[in-house]
């Protein structure tokens, strides 16, 4: 029963927020314009979160997202020369290279992936700030992609493919196996390193797509591109009830539930006109309440 409650809390939290804001914002929450805003604002984190789920499923954390987003955007801009479509392709290519970098550090350097991710986060941010310091990297054309239907289509395609890969192919199933017991997975003849690398590649692809969406929102690549993306994604996934230890309990739906919860909470509090001094406190309380109920504590049972 407790397990059932734990599993139901993230979706229940989301539904409670939707009902709460529907009833208390004088109809502003459920306007078509506001729903479009929420989808567009959540899209960048949602796309990035889909890839991150693969990495978390095999019990790793990717802290590189923000820095890698900035780095891939800057490199894509410099090579594409401001051509939008070339930028998108190159952002994905450099996103994949960033993912491979973290994978190589983790697998061949035998260090936790989050350490490689942290290196990339700082290096990427540093390179981006240095590169953008000398020129203004604007792609005005990217504004035409800042459209609800484009964002919805991208999210639907990315989440659809992610859902299929995660639940119905070896790529996703083996991530969960590795997360549950890497040694047993290895002994059963599955190449753990190969599938971990694939997870980072998928994370890189989604990161590249997220970078392109971010560009269309801001028109320009700056030193602050992707700022706090890793925090937003990890917070959202936690709200979505993702298993922090990876394994078979990992669900890709955590991405969509968590990201929507996170952005709807932000949106609703602004619609309320809440005093900004209290916004972060309310967010913290909500986060603590949701995560403390929904988290899987089995791995902490032995803590005295």
């Amino acid at each position: 029963m407790r397990d059932k409650i734990r599993k139901i809390i993230p979706i229940a939290g989301l539904l409670i927020l939707i009902i709460l804001f529907s009833l208390t914002t004088g109809g502003k929450f459920f306007t078509w314009q506001n729903l479009k805003n929420i989808v567009m604002q959540a899209s960048i984190a949602l796309v990035a979160a889909v890839g991150t789920v693969f990495v978390m499923a095999h019990n790793n954390l990717d802290f590189s997202l923000g820095g890698a987003c900035a780095l891939s955007s800057v490199l894509a801009y410099l090579i594409s020369g401001g051509n939008l479509w070339l930028f998108i392709i190159l952002a994905i290519v450099f996103g994949v290279l960033c993912g491979l970098f973290t994978a190589v550090i983790h697998i061949y350097g035998r260090v936790p992936a989050f350490m490689g991710g942290l290196c990339l986060m700082f290096a990427g941010r540093g390179v981006a700030q240095t590169a953008t310091a000398s020129r203004y990297m604007m792609i005005a054309d990217s504004g035409k992609l800042n459209n609800f239907w484009v964002f919805l289509a991208v999210v639907a395609v990315v989440f659809g493919i992610g859902y299929f890969l995660f639940n119905y192919t070896k790529i996703g199933k083996y991530q969960k196996l590795i997360g549950t017991n890497p040694r047993a997975t290895d002994l059963s003849g599955i190449s753990v390193n190969k599938y971990k690398t694939i997870a980072f590649v998928i994370s890189g692809i989604t990161l590249g797509i997220a970078s392109s969406l971010a560009l269309s929102r801001s028109l320009a690549v700056t030193g602050n591109t992707g700022l706090n993306l890793e925090t937003d994604v990890l917070l959202a996934l936690s709200l979505g009830g993702i298993s922090m230890a990876g394994g078979s309990a990992t669900r890709i739906r955590s991405a969509i539930i968590g990201v929507l919860t996170y952005y709807i909470l932000n949106n609703g509090m602004l619609l309320w006109g809440m005093n900004p001094d209290y916004v972060d406190i309310v967010k913290a309380v909500f986060f603590l309440a949701t995560v403390s109920i929904s988290i899987d504590r089995s791995e902490y049972d032995l803590i005295a």
Binding site: K4, A12, F29, T31, Q33, N37, Q41, M138, A220
Partner: protein
Amino acid sequence: MKKVLALVMAIVMMLAFAACTTNNTPANNGNAGGADVKHKIGMIWYGNTDPMGGTFYAWANHAAELLNVELVWHLGDYTTEAELSACEQMISAGCEGVYFIPMDTAANLQLGNACKDAGVYWAVSNRDILDESIKEACYANPYMVTHIWDDSYNLAKNMVKVLADQGIKKVCMISGDPKDAMMVDRNNGFTDGCKEYGIEILGTFQTETDAKVTTDGVNNFLTLYPDMQGILSVSGTAGTAEAIISTLEGSGKEAGSIKVATFDTFDGNKEAFEKGWLAANAGGYTSECLVAFLALVNRVQGNIKTEGPFKLHLTPIVITNAEEMDLFSKYVDNPEVQLYSDADIKAMVQSTCDEAYYQSVLDNWTIEFIKSAANG
């Protein structure tokens, strides 16, 4: 459990259907009607914890109460994407005007377009628009109310002159982001001023608006350039000016042997003047924020109708001694004090207010104005 979920989903869908059938766009809330209708203004603001942030937060809240305006605040956005999200949410919340400081040039275009699509007025201050095509597009946007920028270039040159007048010949410089219009002006003002007044720039690093980074940078200056006589800094916010002064104090150098000229007022600036570390401190941008905000209120209330935005500029104040700094800290950098009287505020929300009037308010922003306002 599935039945419960299905029931909850059904309720949500019914609510969604009911809500979507109501039309709640800001345009239908009524833009005109004078001050008897409580209009709603969105305020995208960087924060309310430093002197300028806290003071404008208090000034705007006071003015809103006086003018019967409801404010919706969103604090802490430092990217165009985050500002755009906040702007979209404010439009959804029914705001009829949005005020913001654009975090980069593209923010003017993106937020301006979002406001134009929704029929919402918008006003910006504290930044010039670097890109001419963006500036042109913004000025053509019928919902843009103000564009106010600082004369940071000449201000920076004046600050260099203060150092030159004190016999400084060798300085290090903490520069700003070269894609930020205001920082470009400050960077150029410092470098051109140094050329003009015969001051050599020994070394430079770019500010990250981070106190620790600033401390490390100033320590590097002290190690690398023992003959450094002064430090020019384009920014002193977020504890960075305090970091410069405290690093110098901890360096073992004689008090006042290195002179600092920095933008942005900060905690402890009066003591820094008294000890001789601080030679020039530029501040007082709050007035342009207030003018932009009040012009926006004036437009939203339907008192004024213009063909294009008011294009205004402000020359902030350079403070060069402890006495003026004390006055400034007491009456400008103090959220508890309303420097502009209620009559001043009401005068800025009248149908007679035009570009020349608002410019005169900004031109009147001097240390003498502060002294007279402080005296009642």
